[in-house]
C-alpha cells in the first residue's frame, strides 16, 4: 500500500521531512481503518456462521424428535399392544366354543386378531428401521418376528382342535387348553418382553439424542449473543476511531450497521430460545406422555388378555390373576396412607376406588404410568381427561371383580358372558377405559404436533433473512469507510 516510499539518496530538506511525516501518518491511519474494517467484516462473518450453526442445530433437534425417531418410537409402542390383543382375541375365540354370537361375536374377534397381526407387522417394520446399525436390537426384532410365526402356528392348531370339539362357551377341552398354553407362554414369556424392551431401547436412543440436542439448543443463543457482541464491538471501535481521527460526530452507515447487528442478534436469540422451549414442550409434555400412555394402554390390554386366560384355564387361574395384579400395579400403583401395598385383587380394587373417588383428598400414594401422568395438568382440558381415565379404569376393575365372583360361584358360561357380553360387561368397561386413555393420549399428541409445527415455523424465513442481513451489514461497513479512505488518495 502507501506505507513507505523508497528513501531518497540525497539528504532530505525540512520541507520534504514534514511531507514524509504527513505521508507516514496518513499511511498509519489507512492501515488502522483497514484493520478495523476487516475486524468488522470478520465479526459479521462469524456472527453469520454461528447463527447458521445454531439454527441448524435447533432444526436437527426437531428433525429427530418431531419427524424422525420420535414418531417411530411411538409407533413401536403399539407392537406390545398389538401382540397382547392378538393373544386376548385368541383366548376369547376359544372361550366362545360354538356360541359364535357371544359379546361382539366370533367373527369380530377373528377380524380384530387379523387387524392386530397387521399392526404388529408395521410396528415391527418401524422397530427394524430404528434398530439399524444396532446388532442386539436387530437380533431382538428377528426373534420377535420368528416367534410370531411359531405363535400363529400354535394358535391355528388350538383353533382347529377347538372347532373339531364343538362344545359350549366356557369349557374348552383339555387338548385345546394345552395348545393354547404353549402359545400364550411363548407370547407372555418371550415375545411380549422382547417387544417391550424394543420400545424401551428405541425410547432410550431418542432420549440420548434429545439430551444432546437440548444442551446444544440451550447454548445456541449464548453463542449468538457473544458473537453479536463481538461484531458490534468491532463496529463501535471503527466508529470511535473514525470520529476521533476525522473529527466527525458519527458515520451514518456504521450506525445503521451496528443497530442492525444488535437487532438481528436480539431476534435470533429470541427465536432460538423459543425453539429450545418448543423442543422441550414437544419432548416432555408431548412425546414422553404419549409414550407413557401408550405403554399404559399396552399393559392394560395384557390385563384384559389375562382375564380371558383366567377364564380359559382354571388350573392356572392363580398365575393369571397374579399377572393381572402385577400389570395393574404397573398401570396404576396404589399404596395406602400407612404405606401398605394391597397384595390381592380385592384389596387393590378397593384402594383404587378410594384413590379415584377421593382424588384430591386421597392420603395414599399413586405411582405407575397413570399415577405419574395424572400428577399435574398444565394443558387445557387435561385435568378432566385424566379424571375420566381414572374413573373408567376404576369401572373396568369393578366389572372385573363382578366377573370373577360369577366365575368363582361355578357359573362358567355366565362368567364368559359377563366378560364379553354387551353393556355392563368387562369388555364394555374396558372399551370405555381404552377410549378415555386414547383421548388423553391425543391431547398430548396434539401438544406434540403443535410444538413441532411452531418449531418448524419459527425458523422459517431465516435462510433468507440471515444471509441478506449479514451481507447488508458488510456493504454498510464498506460504504461507511470508503469516503474516509478516499480522502487519502
Amino acid at each position: 500500500m502507501t506505507a513507505e516510499a523508497p528513501p531518497r539518496p540525497d539528504r532530505p530538506t525540512a520541507r520534504s521531512r514534514a511531507a514524509e511525516r504527513a505521508r507516514r501518518a496518513a499511511g498509519r491511519t489507512t492501515v488502522r481503518v483497514w484493520t478495523l474494517t476487516a475486524a468488522c467484516l470478520v465479526g459479521i462473518a462469524v456472527l453469520f456462521a454461528v447463527t447458521t450453526g445454531a439454527i441448524a442445530q435447533a432444526r436437527d433437534g426437531f428433525q429427530v424428535i418431531g419427524h424422525g425417531a420420535g414418531p417411530k418410537v411411538a409407533a413401536t409402542a403399539d407392537l406390545y399392544f398389538a401382540l397382547s390383543d392378538m393373544d386376548a382375541q385368541v383366548a376369547n375365540v376359544l372361550l366362545m366354543g360354538d356360541e359364535h354370537d357371544l359379546g361382539a361375536g366370533r367373527e369380530e374377534a377373528l377380524r380384530r386378531y387379523e387387524q392386530r397381526r397387521d399392526d404388529a407387522d408395521s410396528a415391527l417394520l418401524h422397530a427394524a428401521q430404528l434398530a439399524e446399525g444396532d446388532d442386539a436390537e436387530q437380533e431382538n426384532v428377528r426373534a420377535v418376528l420368528d416367534g410370531l410365526g411359531d405363535y400363529e402356528q400354535l394358535v391355528a392348531e388350538a383353533r382347529l382342535l377347538n372347532d373339531e370339539a364343538g362344545g359350549g362357551a366356557g369349557q374348552p377341552p383339555a387338548a385345546v387348553v394345552d395348545r393354547y398354553r404353549e402359545a400364550t407362554d411363548l407370547m407372555r414369556l418371550e415375545l411380549l418382553p422382547k417387544a417391550y424392551n424394543l420400545t424401551l431401547e428405541s425410547g432410550a436412543t431418542v432420549r440420548a439424542t434429545y439430551e444432546d440436542r437440548r444442551s446444544a439448543t440451550r447454548l445456541g443463543p449464548v453463542w449468538v449473543a457473544l458473537s453479536g457482541a463481538a461484531a458490534a464491538g468491532a463496529l463501535i471501535a471503527l466508529q470511535l476511531y473514525l470520529s476521533a481521527r476525522f473529527r466527525r460526530r458519527y458515520n451514518p452507515a456504521l450506525v445503521v450497521a451496528t443497530a442492525g447487528v444488535v437487532g438481528l442478534v436480539g431476534l435470533a436469540t429470541l427465536m432460538l430460545d423459543d425453539q429450545a422451549q418448543q423442543l422441550r414442550t414437544a419432548k416432555e409434555d408431548g412425546l414422553d406422555s404419549v409414550l407413557a400412555l401408550s405403554r399404559a394402554r399396552a399393559i392394560s390390554t395384557n390385563m384384559n388378555a389375562d382375564q380371558s386366560r383366567w377364564l380359559l384355564d382354571p388350573e392356572r387361574a392363580d398365575t393369571y390373576a397374579q399377572g393381572f395384579l402385577e400389570d395393574a400395579q404397573t398401570v396404576l400403583y396404589v399404596e395406602d396412607a400407612a404405606g401398605e401395598v394391597p397384595g390381592d385383587l380385592a384389596g387393590y380394587g378397593a384402594e383404587v376406588d378410594d384413590a379415584v373417588t377421593e382424588r384430591g383428598g386421597y392420603r395414599g400414594r399413586m405411582l405407575g404410568f397413570l399415577g405419574e401422568e395424572v400428577r399435574d395438568a398444565p394443558l387445557a382440558g387435561q385435568a378432566a381427561a385424566q379424571q375420566e381415565v381414572l374413573r373408567a379404569y376404576d369401572g373396568f376393575l369393578r366389572a372385573d371383580r363382578d366377573m370373577r365372583l360369577i366365575a368363582e360361584s361355578g357359573r362358567e358360561r355366565e362368567a364368559v358372558s359377563a366378560h364379553m357380553g354387551g353393556a355392563g360387561s368387562v369388555e364394555d368397561a374396558f372399551d370405555r377405559y381404552e377410549e378415555a386413555l386414547i383421548e388423553l393420549t391425543d391431547l398430548h399428541r396434539d401438544t406434540f404436533d403443535e410444538a413441532v409445527r411452531a418449531g418448524d415455523d419459527g425458523a422459517a424465513g431465516w435462510d433468507v433473512l440471515l444471509p441478506a442481513a449479514c451481507l447488508a451489514f458488510a456493504v454498510l461497513v464498506l460504504a461507511g469507510v470508503r469516503p474516509r479512505l478516499a480522502e487519502y488518495r
Binding site: 432410550a204 447454548l219 463481538a230 402385577e326 400403583y333 399404596e335 397384595g343 384389596g347
Partner: protein, 273 residues
Amino acid sequence: MRSRALALPMAAVLALSACTGALSDTGSLLGRDTLRIGVKADQPGLGLRGPSGEFTGFDVDVALDIAERLGVEPADVEFVEVTSAEREEALREGRVDMVVATYSITPARKTEVTFAGPYYVAHQDILVRADERSIDDVRDLAGRRLCQGEGSNSATRVIGERGVAARLIEAPTYSECVTMLEEGEVDAVSTDDLILAGFLLRSRDAFRIVNAPFTDEKYGVGVAEGDLSGCEAVNRAITDMYQDGTAEALLRMWFGDTGLDLVTSVPQFEGCS
C-alpha cells in the same frame, strides 16, 4: 485487543457448557475404570462371602458380567456387602456404584433408585422336605407350619392375601427357617424361588421346591437415581447377556440341579426413569 475482550465470555461459555455436560453425567456408571458393586454376603447361591472374603453366587456373576460389558475388568470390580435395609442409602451416598442384591423393583423404590433390568424375575415359591408329598401348591399350606424370616412379609402373602390358614412361625433369618425345616420343626418355608434354590444347594437331598410360583419379584440392578444413560447401558448389557447365552449358562450353573423351573429368555425391562 478484540481477542482478549472475547476471551473472558468465551471462557464463561466453555465453563457453562462443561457444567451442563457434567450435570447429566454426575455419578454415572459410564466411563468408570473401576466399579464398586453392592451384593449380599449371606445369601447362598446368590451373594455369599467365603472365609477368605471372596464373594460368590449368581448375583455376583451377573454383576461381573455386566461390569465387563461396561468395559470394567473383573480385577477392577470391588464387591461391597449391602443388607436389604441399606441398599438405597448405599447408592445415595455413593458407597456403591451399582447394587445387584436380590433387589426387587417396586414402584415405591423407583422413586428413590433408578433400576436397570430386571435381569431375572424370581417368584415366591415353597420349600418343603424332600419326602413331603401333601404340599403341591400354596393352598396345601392350610393348617401347616410355615416359617418366615423376621422383617419379611412372605407369610402375609400366603395367609393374608391368599386366605390360606397356615400356622405362622417366625425365625430370625431364612437360613434358620431352613434349618428348622430340616429338623422337622416347621413344614414349609416360602420366599423367592432363587433364594430357596440357594438354600437347597446346602443339602440337596433334604429338600424339594414345590414349583408353584405365586408372585413376581423383578430382580433389578440399582444405580444412582437419575443415571439414565448408565441404566440404559446396563439394560443393553443384560440384553447381550441373554442373547449370547451367558445368562442361561449362569442360571444352569447355579440353579440347574435344584429342580427349579428356570426362565432363560430375557425378562421384560422396567424402563429407566
